[in-house]
Symmetry: D4
Subunit: 228 residues, 8 copies
């Protein structure tokens, strides 16, 4: 029988993004075995969807190895990548309840050596909270917008800034909002043009989309400079 996992260690070199360990449907034994493999190779990995109880079990075995953040349910093993010059990312969150998704994006950027700032409680129900910070937000070339319910913040921001807007719909809400589907669909059907959308609560993916931009555009500029 083949071993149960095979980490894609080549991924960072290939597409500029390390493989992260999605812990939701893995047992603690599987996670621990994968961490052993990581330790023997690159020594560094981001863990997502690691809930508190799995973390507690893991902690007993591997104390001091994991930098854990309960709000975003992420852990970092080893050193984060060194900071690099890259387009800074604004992470704008509609409400306190959107923090877990937004913070997952922040942790992913931190692990990758990216630059970002968090803006919390910027819901459009109190538009002044957005307008008083819009100039600051506008100065970021990339803006991740974490919002649940009707995700109206996505469209409002999309119409106000020339930045790249990455919509991160969250599962916040109840009734017809439940599960984040309404936020997702509203972001996809946004009346503002050029919004990029990721899966519900996928803070990791939103950050990766931002990282692709800096890698790819950076690489292109270097090649353009070589030609000149």
């Amino acid at each position: 029988m083949t071993p149960e996992f095979k980490v894609d260690f080549d991924r960072g070199a290939r597409i500029g993004l390390d493989e992260a360990l999605f812990c939701e449907s893995k047992t603690v034994d599987q996670i621990s075995a994968i961490l052993d493999a990581v330790k023997a190779k690159t020594g560094r990995m981001l863990l997502t969807r690691l809930d508190q109880s799995k973390y507690d079990t893991l902690l007993a075995r591997r104390s001091a190895e994991l930098d854990y953040d309960p709000l975003s349910r992420t852990a970092i093993v080893g050193e984060a990548h060194p900071a690099r010059v890259a387009p800074p990312v604004a992470i704008v969150m509609a409400g306190t309840s959107d923090l877990p998704a937004g913070r997952e994006a922040a942790r992913t950027l931190a692990f990758a050596g990216g630059v970002y700032r968090e803006f919390t409680d910027i819901g459009v129900a109190g538009l002044w909270r957005l307008l008083e910070r819009i100039d600051e937000i506008r100065s970021f070339p990339i803006v991740i917008v974490a919002a649940g319910m009707d995700a109206a913040l996505v469209s409002v921001l999309g119409g106000l800034v020339a930045s790249v807007v990455i919509a991160l719909p969250t599962s916040v809400g109840y009734g017809v909002a439940r599960g984040g589907t309404t936020a997702l669909r509203a972001a996809l059907a946004s009346c503002a043009p050029g919004i990029s959308v990721v899966n519900i609560d996928n803070g990791y993916g939103a950050a990766c989309a931002a990282l692709r931009i800096s890698h790819a555009v950076g690489a292109w500029q270097k090649s353009a400079e070589r030609i000149e």
Copy 2:
């Protein structure tokens, strides 16, 4: 066999709203027979969802009786109700494509003797279009908001005005917006508090919700005055 219809002529007296004739799933023969019954009784009726081809067929039989508007697909038979003192209604439309639904609301109010003004092309993708008219809109105690796609206008307006906000989701859009379900769900899950929502493209229903407010609150005030 009983006759195929029985108009609820008592409805106006009972709940302050005349029965309207929903023409979508009725044959021209059925519509014409009902109009005969109306003519013999109150002489006045609003027809909704009367498409151009049914209207054309009907016209040959009953020329000059119908005041028809093709954009909203409504017709008025007989005299509209006389204008009355009532809270004026702003009908705010996100885009040109929302006009059919918004105009159906306008025609319903016109038939009932209500006061209203239309505001078109107020989409949040260009927020300045809303902000330059917000003070005017705010002066209306009742605001109907017709919007499709993500219906973000509903939440933005709901957070800016103290007026009654009646969301009228429209079927404008494609892909995940198709059919208006996304606009409907976004309006129901709005982050702005106290939004009232009606069915997709139901301009008639939005106007009736507005009319209920003036009737009911008006009646209450009269009874309160009597007590004083």
Copy 3:
């Protein structure tokens, strides 16, 4: 890093409705920190979706501050707003199981100083229960109808009263009723004209829709009187 929340203290002045604290996806630490901010400013707030276990944890830290109601899962901090002259609201509930949603509406009105009465167990399966109280209900200019399953009560009431009817679909039921979607859709597709609908189990929103009516129409009448 910015703080994790920013209460919209201006909302009451702007739209006549205080911001309420939606506790479902917030930690007890976040709730407590927000209450500290409230205490330092207006001293008064409504908390919704505060389940018993979060309340128990909170209680240990902030005894005597919270007026908690387990059925509606609401808490009131500080004094409710003083009672004011406003159109009274009937809260009509189809069954005992609809009490949590209906009571949330009641508590929201109580906090805002509104006038209301509750009518329980008025399901249409036993129509006499409705008919024996219909005259009393009819005397309220605003009627909130909380119903799950098929929400047939909404249409029946909507055809019997001239009052504003705010449908509050509830998640009561199983099978195809599960989650309240059937009740929601039935209310939106009601054969009775002019029904306003809010999200499933959104008693808070139904009450806010009622409050918008009294605020907005009241303001309009004052301005009309000034002109006269």
Copy 4:
């Protein structure tokens, strides 16, 4: 290659219901060939979902054979079954738009020799229309209720009569009602106990459910009498 069809001529003897010919997804050639087979055997068949244009094509080939009703899109070939003593069926329709479905039920009963009466335009938005006929309806042991939109009539009737109630949801309506799914789900989730439900617009099936009752219960009584 086997022939393209094989009529279940044995069905009437086996379950008391003749096979009917569902024409929606059949070509005129196929329908005509099946009618030839019927002619050679029992000489009698009910055709459902036969739209006007297929009927017109068919008519050229088989004039005078078909008794066609355009409203219900049914045709009867040959003689209907002779009338028999059976529990009479009330077919109650919420509005004029529900006639096609209700009439399909009526035609199916007529073909089978059943007894029925149609009640039209009995929508609950004008409850008096129901209440003034309720005693008459109540006298029928079986009641088919054809209703679209929110199908509230189903629950109201179900709470007022001891008769068997067969809900026949129709595709009447728009927005969230579109396709009849809301009516169907509301009927299934009815707060009135013991409602039987059939597929959307399935007038044929509603009538068959009624026919099963008279056949089966009749047969049981005969056997019970034999035992006595």
Copy 5:
């Protein structure tokens, strides 16, 4: 404030079916208070969806009053109705997992004094299990079929018996079957004619549909006899 409940004691006289107490979304306090009211009036009630933990709590307060069945989660308070001459009901279950729903139907019939027999593990994957009992099943004028997954048993039985067939879809299964929606939709779209369908897991409703048949048809026969 009005009391929280109002039992429809008149229902038995009106429609032949006592109101049952649906316990799923009620607190133990509410259930107990309703039982007090019942005790003071008719002394007899059926409780449905009473889970084991609620029952245990209730038991402490009201020992010996409740006849509880954990499989169907039903309890009977007081004496069941005396047995009466009525068409006997076969309750056919596709598998062991369909027992909770089927048994709820059985308990409802038992409470009402009805006659029934249970047939278990009659799935069509082993058709011989059905065929070896089909003659026995066929002798029942009313057949309730409880089946989950694809509910194919409904169509097979519906094509083999002339009896009334009441489909009771169950939530048994996983993946696309989850929640019983597939079984429900398959029963509604059955290729066998005249199938009556009730909500998912609604054993109570299936039994009530059967009871309506005996009541209504029985009453009709009596009146027919009087006329003769």
Copy 6:
């Protein structure tokens, strides 16, 4: 600009199945250009979803090249593959309306040189039609079952034969059956074990699944023989 298409001529060698031309969302110009490329290379291709009007337009340009079948909307260009020894396939269709999907499977097998027989009108509502042919069907090692509505035939057959059963759900039906989703879900949730399912109306795919079996198993046996 690159050309608009690139036929996968290598596919037959690679996976044993030629690329077919799916015509539904292609213009006649595109189809014609692809046929030119085919003519210059292998000279042979299967076209699917070619509706009558596209075929008529195409015919004017390329007379005599296309062997067209309007029922299945397929065309064959060039010679079919020579017949080969392979496990014969039974194509069992529940009703006449399932012929288009079943025939698409037949035409695909014919093009590939496969052996098959069609069995029509084998619906379970008249089980005898199935039982009188079951021994014949059982003799085929592979059985494709085309059925719409509730697709009960899939489970019944699956429980009676040891053959490979490939369920081909069709879009036949209305109401909840509409679009074939109910048939698809019922086939996936079948109580009979080991059913393989393909997309709705995908007769081409069902045939390809059968072809994969003969290719792959045949190849394996040859290699096994070599080893012996």
Copy 7:
């Protein structure tokens, strides 16, 4: 009352697949009673969906009888069938999280005496992991592909191998992937031809589909040989 279960012991002889015991919606008492019946007859059975807690309860009563695997939640009672010559099956899993479904397939094959190999962590996000093993996989005439999220591995493999491809969508993922519906629909809509699909997480069914192939094709070859 009939007993609560009736094992289909004839199934193995009839269709080549023993009945397995689906434990998800059965009580431990029911499972134990069925095992008693099995013990008295064939002595051998596969149990699926037996979660750890049910197993623990069962263990106390029937120690040493059950060969339990917690990852796949399967247990084997008695001896597995002896190994037979059959086309070997590759079980390819996209990620570690797909192991429970893939292992259920493996255990089913093991119980039936089949030949298989597992390939884990072959996700297309790192295509090299697939390409470096593709020749090995290609040598298996039957390939089961277990994948969640977008199930892209199904299409990639389907385009690379001539083997039978049985897609086994899993419920791995969150947001729009939740429940496995996206993986299921993607597999059904695959751009690769001839993919067979089973229900979400239905490893048992995928293995049975593979077993049908070896049984049926084997039987056909024997009969073909007899004829020669």
Copy 8:
């Protein structure tokens, strides 16, 4: 009454993207009036979703003004923006049927003065078609992937290139693929990290997302250079 439209001429300056005219739900009169306003102001506009019949009507009135492309249903009025130095965009299309969506993206980029190349018929069912062009595609910093059905190409590409990947799901396919929802959900649930997704068939939006990247990142670099 206010005019029916108000073009957001400021949008280009504000967010770097001109407002485009979505023609799907507008009448020819409305489109023509808006073009008059454009002519009087900037003289330049992109029209999307302009179907052939609307274009033909428009042509009669405004000949020579419109550069129309029937495949993408776009028209350009006035001069396109001058070409600028920007990251070039690869538009990769899975099949010929995905051309309309991909071409809409191309036309949007052309109008905005962007640089792009189209790659057609790169479906993963024939992986060699992708692999033989992957190095070329990889050299583009931004890759738009237009794919319908299961959209597996998105994940495969996302795992092979470090470029920004913008998934453009298309409505190509039938059955469960119908409408593009499966492609959309598969793209959102992709196992490849950092995929940005836009609405179904939204070629315009995909291009705008690409344009936001060059604008925003370009602006950031300029400001970074100023600081240095």
